[in-house]
Homo-oligomer: 333 residues x 2
């Protein structure tokens, strides 16, 4: 668990896109952030109050979260001087960067001296068990995609937000770096040792109230040959009661694999559901989420309607249309 | 690569079963072992000449291979004194134990002093790439099982031996500790970081002659919820041209999972083949291997005949009946 609330470090982000981790926190867990910290020349703004380290500390911030991608594969001296000062003032520091905070000797030394913790969410900090497959109480949803990066995290977060709005019991269960920083907990599944992947997902989504939903962040795709093993472990470790099919309609080929075309939603359904039913025979496909960011309003609406008619499942872009209809279907399980 | 030939360390093995790694080397790569080293009270014998460290060195041995399981989760002082002497005499040491040689400071110190290498085959020694899915030249077979530990490694080794007998080009590609010690190379797939599993399998089975067969050791099962992600990575990273279905007919439930029944061979075929065809549309199921060790000769023969009639695929126990008919089918691809 990463102590909240956060101060979001935007550093010298060249543009808004570089700050997408900070934006995700602002969008999905605004109560987790007291403000943003920007350096000279910062080209990003997530719409929070600009604060100095001291001001944010005064406002209760406990952790400085690196909410921006770094450049050139190094943590710059300019960043380090801010991070070091934060540690000295009593902040923990959390980062999802490939460059680990723990590999920076000067930061490690300062954190030790100040008794603070460096949270590198890209690497596991738990010795996960091997999955035992025992049926757990409570309900679980998993988004599975026709490809990587088609909106599975967003779908889980949107369903979680809608369930909270309705007073339903729900928890978003992150399995990637951005999701972990947004919520302060989770499993960096792509960095887990093979034998423990499914066990890590069981660990993340333990027994719960019968009417509680874990909304498990999907990873990869059964059809993406680089990462399908991670997806498989999510399907079996997660024991989902409900699968939501996720799709991005404008891809020419699988992400990073120019020789591989995308599967149809029918192929995804017919592949994922029988595999999910090995771990949970009651599993159903309950809806479809389409990432329509590259379509016009009309195109998006038409595609969802056509898909819904073809597949017989509630179909929305949860960003554009809200996740209400996905939640309606889950509430019936 | 572990330098061959080996001296096989049987230590104080309580019985033959404890020495199954050494037995595997003796059975499948006898040319890799000059002899066996047994301590007082050893209850195992793999049928090689008993040798002292000096005698085996004289006979050309380059590596002392720990061919026996240890007890109580420790490497005993008695073992260590032999291993230390071996290092001092110029042996490398190779081990698949959970307790790593590299975690024993005294052994590390001796190895450094003597300029020898400690090979812990349970942990990866290579920075594997992320899989790129690019079609590779040469042919690949993968055994997929209805469960874990149903004879997939044995099937690969038996097919490899039969292909070599026929003068075909083949390589057994180990993905587990025992297989790696048998052949001196391979990938300990269950210990690889999730994101790199499929890439490790691609790395292990690179481009080769068009008529060369990589016989990839299977792991886990698509139906075993603890390890199915590892199996999935093998299917996509391996790009198999041929799948052999492997089964053990006397299991009451999935290994270690009392609530999970075994799938039928039909279910295994119908699940594994479409997934394999994502990476290699030409993939076929070419045969069935049944581990009949718990059946009588008559029962074994009858089960294979019945299964062959039902599934329309050559069906053998490669240990009992030889792998010839499996190779006949592969040779036609």
């Amino acid at each position: 668990m990463i102590p909240t609330p956060y101060l979001l470090f935007l550093g010298d982000a060249p543009d808004q896109l570089a700050a997408k981790v900070a934006q995700g926190i602002k969008d999905w867990r605004p109560e987790n952030a007291v403000g943003q910290f920007r350096m000279a020349g910062c080209g990003a703004d997530v719409g929070l109050k600009d604060m100095s380290l001291a001001e944010a500390k005064e406002a209760g911030a406990k952790t400085l979260v690196i909410g921006v991608a770094n450049r050139g594969g190094v943590i710059s001296e300019a960043w380090k001087s801010v991070i070091t000062e934060a540690i000295q003032m009593g902040y923990d520091v959390a980062s999802g960067l490939h460059n680990l905070l723990r590999d920076e000797n000067d930061l490690v030394r300062e954190a030790k001296r100040a008794g603070r913790t460096l949270h590198d969410v890209r690497v596991p900090s738990v010795a996960y068990p091997i999955a035992n497959g025992v049926k757990r109480t409570g309900k679980r949803m998993l988004a599975v995609g026709t490809d990587c990066s088609v909106g599975k995290m967003y779908t889980g977060l949107a369903v979680d937000a809608e369930m909270r709005n309705r007073g339903m019991k729900s928890t978003f269960a992150p399995t990637g770096q951005t999701g972990i920083l947004i919520t302060g907990r989770g499993v960096p599944l792509d960095a887990v040792i093979a034998d423990f992947m499914a066990g890590a997902v069981e660990w993340l989504t333990p027994n719960n109230d019968a009417d509680h939903w874990d909304l498990i962040e999907g990873q990869g795709s059964l059809f993406h040959v680089s990462y399908s093993g991670v997806t498989m472990a999510l399907i079996h470790g997660g024991q989902p009661d409900a699968l939501v099919l996720s799709h991005e309609p404008t891809r020419a080929h699988m992400r990073g694999l120019p020789d591989y075309g995308l599967p149809s939603l029918e192929a995804l359904r017919d592949t994922a559901l029988p595999l999910a039913q090995i771990a949970n025979p009651a599993c159903k496909v309950t809806g479809i989420s389409i990432n329509t960011q590259h379509l016009s309003d009309d195109e998006a609406m038409r595609l969802c309607e056509e898909t819904e008619a073809r597949m017989g499942l509630p179909t929305v872009d949860p960003f554009r249309h809200g996740a209400g209809r996905l939640v309606d279907a889950l509430a019936e399980i």
